[in-house]
Assembly symmetry: C2
Homo-oligomer: 341 residues x 2
Amino acid sequence: MVAIPGVLERARLMVEPSLVAAVDQLQPELRLLARYHFGWAEVDGSPSRVGAGKGLRPALAVLSAEAVGADGGLAIPGATAVELIHNFSLVHDDIIDGDVERRHRPTVWSAFGVDDAVIAGDALHNLALQVLLADSTSPLTVERVQATVRLVAATTAMIAGQSSDMAFNNRSEVDLAACLAMEADKTGALLGYSASVGAVLAGAPQSWIDALQIYGLELGLAFQAVDDVLGIWGDPTVTGKAAGNDLRERKKSMPVALVLSGGGAAEDELRAIYDSVDDLSDDSVARVAAVIEAAGGRDRTVAEARLHLDAALAAIDCVGLVPEAVDELVGLAEFVANRDF
Amino acid sequence: MVAIPGVLERARLMVEPSLVAAVDQLQPELRLLARYHFGWAEVDGSPSRVGAGKGLRPALAVLSAEAVGADGGLAIPGATAVELIHNFSLVHDDIIDGDVERRHRPTVWSAFGVDDAVIAGDALHNLALQVLLADSTSPLTVERVQATVRLVAATTAMIAGQSSDMAFNNRSEVDLAACLAMEADKTGALLGYSASVGAVLAGAPQSWIDALQIYGLELGLAFQAVDDVLGIWGDPTVTGKAAGNDLRERKKSMPVALVLSGGGAAEDELRAIYDSVDDLSDDSVARVAAVIEAAGGRDRTVAEARLHLDAALAAIDCVGLVPEAVDELVGLAEFVANRDF
């Protein structure tokens, strides 16, 4: 277990006031839904401090400004916007995936209903753009417009990735390459954005922006590979999700795709179970997990995580970025790739 | 019955290629959902020509460029973007309202499921911004950025209005003022945007932009008042919605709000029916409609439509806009306020 990098808390303290202020601009009903989702309020509106997510994206954004020699505070509008987009996607993905719990409490749709979750996600999506384009405290700069254009592009990719992921349910042939392409869109694009938006807002040279974006994209793939392992073998008391959740939902995540495209008896057995229409019992879930593990699906996904982690680190190595910030980016990447939650 | 204004077809021919091209940029699964929604494809992807909506927003956008002496073609990116936002809201609102039919065919959620409708709406929402910010055929201009900032603001209002509308279900006190405020957000903001975006893209003086926006906002309120009348008394074979649809869903639309805040026996009777938990029979729906009509809810809503139509026309009268375009804007407004569909 790697220690939690200090930058997560440091960035949270920098960005959360801006995030709270953005959410406060929402109309009262939408504000409650958003505050509940972020873990700042209970269903009845009373204060809550259950805590939001890890804040990986804001931390990347802040470091990406510092990496080009700028003040981390310059990244705040980008960090706020990307956190809003990420959370819009969580609220809608929870509907789509039918997930009833997130961060150890009911998801927005399961607490308030699907209708409220649809409109809450829409509001967060739009609020992200508003934060970048209509910040009343400062004039709209060329850099801010650039950051907006890039956010829209990253969000387009994220939505396309989520749609591809959904389409995997109806496709029998899903291999590692298809999985990686989908996850580059679904997770990589927004992390690539996060890891470069501070540099964009600071007006840094394109080569630095590109290096940081590649770092983020590769980190996203490593992140997702780890996530896919945890989605099958993670400890429910740590992940906050049911054991074998991804298998129960018959997700074609990386470990599954590796076995489904790997041939042999393991592929046949896995395919038979995935093609059946019955709900999977706890025993079946355990059995599927064992089949995938025995066929190497787990080890190869862990290796894939390592590969993309290395690519992430290589992207920002020796390109002239501020060493202290690079050290923190490295630490953050190691943390993400070795986490157990 | 007013004749269909020629500008609707003229603007459709100008804007539809851009709309089709925008939707073509979507990933295949999302593209099918969008093409189905627009009436260009059937569920299986085969071509369809059932026809999209009236195209009121694109027509307003084109006229708003012409009204300031510019070529209507200048408005195309704005017209495309606003049509995408409008249709994103339709796809999500149909989920929220549980509406199974739109334009005489199943809504996206009822044809493809709620999950697909959620992601399809998200994709259209984001695509609208992409159209304005990332048009590969021309560089990003100050006017285009301005049009984007305004679109985000209008969309914020639209989402807030939809959320207020949903909240009305749990509020017993809804009067005309609350209704108008909600509808100014839900419908007015986007029509105000539509009716001014061509002028914005043409770099017109602010006073003309403001006049056109007020015209659109007021037209939106007139439109919504007419919509509320049709939602209760419209002919199902013409509107494409079930008779008394709004009453069945216990919507607190303008005619209902007028009676609910009007006192007397009519308020008591309407409140008793709206507060009951049973599904309304066809007889009950007819009875409620009669109570509202007898209490003046219908006539006063029609009068409200006229009031806002007049305000719309006054906003663009004698302010120096191109007379031919103003004539078309007047014709379009008269058409909207007198329609029976």
